[in-house]
């Protein structure tokens, strides 16, 4: 192949994301008549996400997957809104935002300031829920709950504002930490929770869906600009098509994961509209008090809400 690109990501091969990445590689191969090739490296086999992003900034032929909180740290803090609590009411609202001019502008800013090009943003990562060893129904139950979150400013700030004792911890330590009671809870999409067998050691799940998390596939702007227009189009088009495959698989995978949780004796709490409203209300503290400290643009919340209007 003329162009070879290494795609590194964290997911295990059995997860929907990995299956869809293989589909992406297949599509790229087909559409380019074999002149372009994606080499896939699941399980962070090619390295940690931060390292891969550094490599792409150095001009390497690398693609990886990131989320809003991650991209916020590469010169465009506004990306963080995709990882903020209770920001979007539905996936459709989020897709409208991703299709908006505002989002296109955000991506261009990232390409300029962070030297990172967003290839596709239509991949569902999953609705993030809280799995805990003590029952949680309402935000006040988070009080004094030691909750493992992603180790970044945005997650720690927003969950602290929700009332939890948020802390970062290596994902590899979480199973033991839950089992021993070092921490009380962990938040992630159900599929990821089940993949790491956390249901064996924590028996309460609240489907608060605090973040409807999407994945952004990214590559280095310097490498991207070496591609011809046709190659760029093949890469991004296939990425979006594979994204649809991912989203189809996601529903089924979530159902299966939920069944695994039920089989393991996890008590799953579905929120009533009232309860959900209480969560959204609790989430507002973050937007009102602390979001500004993260370097967000003036009135970002309203801008994004407007961009998500039908």
């Amino acid at each position: 192949a003329d162009v070879e690109i290494n795609v590194g990501f964290e997911n295990a091969v059995t997860e929907p994301c990995s299956i869809a990445v293989e589909k992406w590689a297949e599509l790229v191969d087909e559409k380019s008549n074999g002149t372009m090739k994606l080499n896939t490296f699941p399980n962070s086999g090619l390295g940690k996400k931060v390292d891969l992003i550094d490599q792409m900034v150095m001009g390497q032929n690398v693609i990886t997957v990131a989320d809003g909180a991650f991209l916020a740290e590469y010169g465009v803090p506004d990306f963080g809104i995709f990882y903020a609590p209770f920001m979007f009411d539905s996936w459709d609202e989020e897709w409208r935002v991703v299709d908006s001019d505002w989002y296109q502008g955000l991506c261009d800013e990232l390409a300029e300031k962070g030297r990172i090009r967003v290839l596709a943003s239509n991949w569902i990562y999953g609705a993030r829920d809280i799995l805990s060893t003590k029952k949680v129904v309402l935000p006040e139950d988070l009080d004094s709950l030691k909750l493992r979150v992603s180790s970044n400013d945005l997650s720690i700030t927003s969950f602290t504002d929700l009332g939890a004792n948020a802390l970062g911890m290596d994902m590899g330590d979480v199973y033991q930490a839950l089992q021993a009671g070092t921490i009380d809870a962990v938040e992630n999409p159900i599929t990821s929770l089940a993949n790491r067998s956390f249901q064996e050691v924590a028996k309460y799940l609240v489907k608060d869906e605090h973040i409807l998390a999407t994945s952004m596939w990214i590559c280095g702007e310097d490498f991207y600009s070496t591609l011809t227009d046709e190659q760029k189009q093949i890469l991004t088009e296939s990425a979006e098509e594979a994204g649809l495959v991912n989203n189809d698989l996601y529903d089924q995978a979530t159902e299966e994961a939920e069944q695994l949780l039920v089989d393991a004796g996890v008590e799953i709490t579905e929120l009533t509209d009232e309860q959900k409203a209480a969560w959204i209300e609790a989430g507002q503290k973050f937007y009102n008090e602390d979001a500004a400290g993260l370097g967000w643009s003036e009135g970002l919340y309203d801008t994004v809400k407007a961009a998500g209007q039908e």
Partner: protein
């Protein structure tokens, strides 16, 4: 104070730096346990501090590890060669080591340049990655210096790894 003592003290500045980083690493981690378990108010910054300090411990002491003879090597085949060939090998080993560590130093400067252009900082504490990683190129120069000092000038600081048992201590006392 003897001249050699002064020299050793000056050389051991790297050990001091690495030890301070190591103690800070232990304290930060231990404080994290107390904050989480006793105060129920875990720190958000523990991981970041750990990942930064460990770089200073390792690269801070990498040069000193030459002086204390801690860096391992396989000597089986080397020992089989006659003395004349060993002399030649020594020169080659010297060259390989100096060139490799120089290259790592150069590469780490290139890596630092990346952070100079992007200005990226750690997520929670907003520490500059340049501050965290600047020890690496310095360490490379220092490693080369220590390597030359130990292999060409035969300098070494033997650390006592044997812990003396009471009997041995008594015996030593009897002998005076």
């Amino acid at each position: 104070m003897k001249k050699t003592d002064k020299k050793a003290m000056l050389l051991n500045i790297d050990v001091v730096i690495a030890s301070v980083a190591m103690c800070a690493l232990v304290l930060a981690t231990f404080a994290g346990v107390i904050a989480r378990y006793i105060l129920s108010k875990p720190f958000g910054w523990t991981e970041e501090v750990q990942a930064s300090l460990i770089v200073w411990v390792i690269f801070g002491a990498a040069g000193a590890a030459f002086r204390t003879g801690n860096h391992a090597a396989i000597e089986i085949f080397y020992d089989m060669f006659p003395a004349a060939i060993r002399k030649i090998l020594n020169v080659i080993i010297l060259a390989i080591t100096v060139i490799t560590i120089c290259y790592l130093g150069y590469a780490s400067l290139e890596y630092l340049k990346l952070f100079a252009t992007t200005g990226r900082k750690t997520s929670v504490l907003h520490w500059s990655y340049i501050t965290i990683y600047c020890i690496v190129p310095i360490s490379c120069l220092w490693q080369i210096f220590n390597f030359v000092l130990t292999t060409i000038f035969g300098y070494s600081e033997q650390e006592t790894i044997e812990s003396i048992t009471d009997e041995e201590f008594e015996e030593a006392k009897k002998k005076g």
